[in-house]
């Protein structure tokens, strides 16, 4: 691909694959572009972890199997930094950024915070067989680690010698046998100290460090296969989980019950991410497809074939549109689009209110145009009027 062509591609979703390719997917165009060259990569550069490099989400940090961490800049469309994380063994299982320093975690349990001179600032030994490390998005000095026979531990980077919270295993099961531990993914719940984990023994557990117990506050089971990926919805009460058999479901973390399942997967789900504002959830897995579902309606919004097995993904909060189609299309425009969508919702409500009882069918577009200016004012009473108008309609029909 020529350099000038690469400059145009804007991604909404970044997906890392097993072959080592970082792909940027433009959802409006349903197109995907390889952000690095196919000739340059091989299996040893399999992408194991992805994270945002900065708050503006213009830099993507990529953790590779050969323990390199590369930073890709979306503005310049090239890899700008490369860092080697020596120490420990196994591939990179977690990557995060704290005060512009990288936090890396490898499978043997060595968590390191690197400073600018590629020197270790802080080193933590989190036990063996780590499967996942996550950073609290609201309190970036807190990280959580967990793995196979390695219970959940929360570390405070300001006091790295001992974990701030170490979870205790649940009680023996009904046969009085020890329940095995295998933490595969975890998420910090927003606005609280709680943390939710999903395990390889198909359990989802919620821990609360501020509560008096070290055992999970909530435990629920889902299906019969290891749950490999988890992501919280924007509300924070619900989570989307996916397992190795290709079942993805929305569960309620307060009730401890499944709300509904998403369909269409054929292979194991490796990574899920919910969008922070829109009700969309992106998922990728071993069946080489990137799927975007609507969280509430379960509808499949996008399904894109990305020829390699996919390992991890990043969902951008604000969707940028293509620079090709004109310079006036920029971030402001996309936020306008979001607002006009909001308008159309109130338009529909106006239609219900504006409709006459005696059944003269006015076309939606006419009433919509008339009432769009009054949209905001009637917001508070729209539910009542809707109810009234629907009642009137029922009476008319009877």
């Amino acid at each position: 691909m020529a350099r000038h062509k690469m400059a145009i591609h804007v991604g909404n979703v970044f997906v890392g694959s097993e072959t080592g390719l970082l792909k940027g997917v433009d959802l409006e165009k349903k197109a995907c572009h390889n952000l690095n060259n196919i000739q340059d990569v091989n299996r040893t550069q399999e992408i194991c972890a992805l994270c945002w490099g900065n708050r503006e989400e213009t830099e993507v940090c990529v953790g590779l199997r050969n323990r390199l961490v590369k930073t890709y800049s979306t503005e310049k469309n090239e890899f700008i930094e490369c860092m080697e994380c020596a120490g420990g063994s196994g591939n990179i299982t977690g990557l995060a950024k704290y005060n512009n320093h990288f936090i890396t975690c490898v499978q043997s349990g060595l968590v390191q915070v690197w400073n600018d001179q590629e020197d270790k600032k802080i080193e933590i030994n989190a036990g063996e067989n780590i499967c996942c490390m996550r950073q609290n998005p609201q309190q970036p000095f807190l990280i959580a680690t967990g793995g196979k026979e390695n219970p959940l531990k929360i570390w405070d980077l300001q006091n790295p010698t001992e974990p701030m919270f170490k979870a205790k295993n649940v009680k023996n099961d009904w046969l009085n046998l020890r329940v095995p531990v295998w933490v595969l993914d975890m998420q910090f719940l927003p606005d609280s100290k709680k943390i939710a984990t999903c395990t390889g023994h198909h359990q989802v557990r919620v821990y609360d460090p501020s509560a008096s117990q070290r055992r999970p506050v909530l435990e629920m089971e889902f299906d019969e296969y290891p749950i490999t990926a988890m992501s919280l919805t924007s509300s924070g009460n619900q989570a989307v989980i996916g397992n190795t058999h290709g079942n993805m479901a929305l569960i309620d973390l307060r009730k401890g019950a499944m709300v509904h399942c998403y369909k269409g997967f054929a292979g194991a789900i490796k990574s899920i991410q919910c969008h922070p504002t829109q009700p969309l959830v992106a998922s990728c897995g071993l069946d080489r497809f990137l799927r975007i579902h609507n969280i509430d309606t379960k509808a499949l919004v996008h399904k894109i074939y990305l020829k390699s097995r996919l390992n991890c993904l990043l969902f951008r909060s604000e969707w940028q549109s293509d620079g090709l189609s004109g310079k006036d299309r920029n971030k402001d425009n996309t936020s306008e689009n979001v607002e006009s969508g909001f308008h159309s919702d109130t338009d529909e409500d106006e239609v219900w209110e504006g409709m006459e009882v005696v059944g003269s069918k006015q076309s939606k577009s006419n009433t919509g145009n008339e009432d769009s200016e009054k949209g905001r004012k009637r917001k508070t009473t729209k539910s009542d009027e809707k109810h009234n108008s629907s009642l009137k309609k029922k009476q008319k029909q009877v």
Binding site: T19, L21, N34, I38, V41, N42, R43, G200, E224, Y225, P226, T228, T244, H245, G246, K263, G264, A266, G267, A268, L286, D287, R288, Y305, K307, S308, R309
Partner: protein, 311 residues
Amino acid sequence: MAAESVDSGSMAQKPNIFRIKNKIRRAEVYKEMKKEQRKIQKKEKKRKMVEAKALGDKAPPKKIPRTIENTRVYDETMVNSLDEEVRKDEAEDEMSTYFNRKTTPKVLITSGDKPRTRTNQFCKELKKCIPNSQIYYRRGLDLKKIIPQAVSKDFTDIVIINEDSKEPNGLVISHLPDGPTAHFKMSNVRLTKQLKRHGAMTGHMPEVILNNFNTRLGHTVGRLLASIFPHDPDFHGRRAVTFHNQRDFIFFRQHRYMFKNAKRVGLQELGPRFTLKLRSLQKGTFDSKFGEYEWVHKRHEMETSRRKFFL
């Protein structure tokens, strides 16, 4: 059976067959009607042929009948052979060591616990069919324990034949160092002695023919099946093993071919014959509980269209 299809013939009056309550008489009238229909169709066909010959080049083109394969739902995972990414992916996948000629296949054949006669016979035929293979009795051992031992003894593949109701009905092929595991449903198993006019199998290296493995998943399965057989076929032995994929069913046949002249070939079937259908493809060696699945057949979600296939 009583309802009548529209026929192209010029029947003046279609008898209302379903009004005849007597089954024997109804069947007779139906037979007569079908005979008439067939006669008319034959006449039409002959007329068309004569016309086409008479017109020569100006004849209207032959109509292509609609088949399910013709009208297959567009699959975006169909592999384009020039696709760089797929090529790179395949050049580095688990079976690439076979295709790069770094390993030669050594196959371990086993069955479920306490196999019945038919399964045993089938295993023995498979052993004859696949060169460089060995049969081991299962004896109740765990597969997860067998696999590391097989790896240490340099086996490259393990083939497990599952049986139910005294018939072999499942096949698990696991490529060994860390390769994918495919679980197939096996049906229509015919041993050599059940085939008519079968030939005697010899030990020559067979030629492997893989038909119709077009999608990305099909590619992986095709490579897995091909990596069981040795690289270089012995053309002198004229033995061919075919895996033909049609509508997601993989048909296994073994033939001895003989060219009678440049255009005609004689085929003699040897060896067992069976049909496979892929149930799941799992990344890594056999681990049905904790393994990650690359593809799982989900009947109610996937079988929504009769014209959608995955391999």
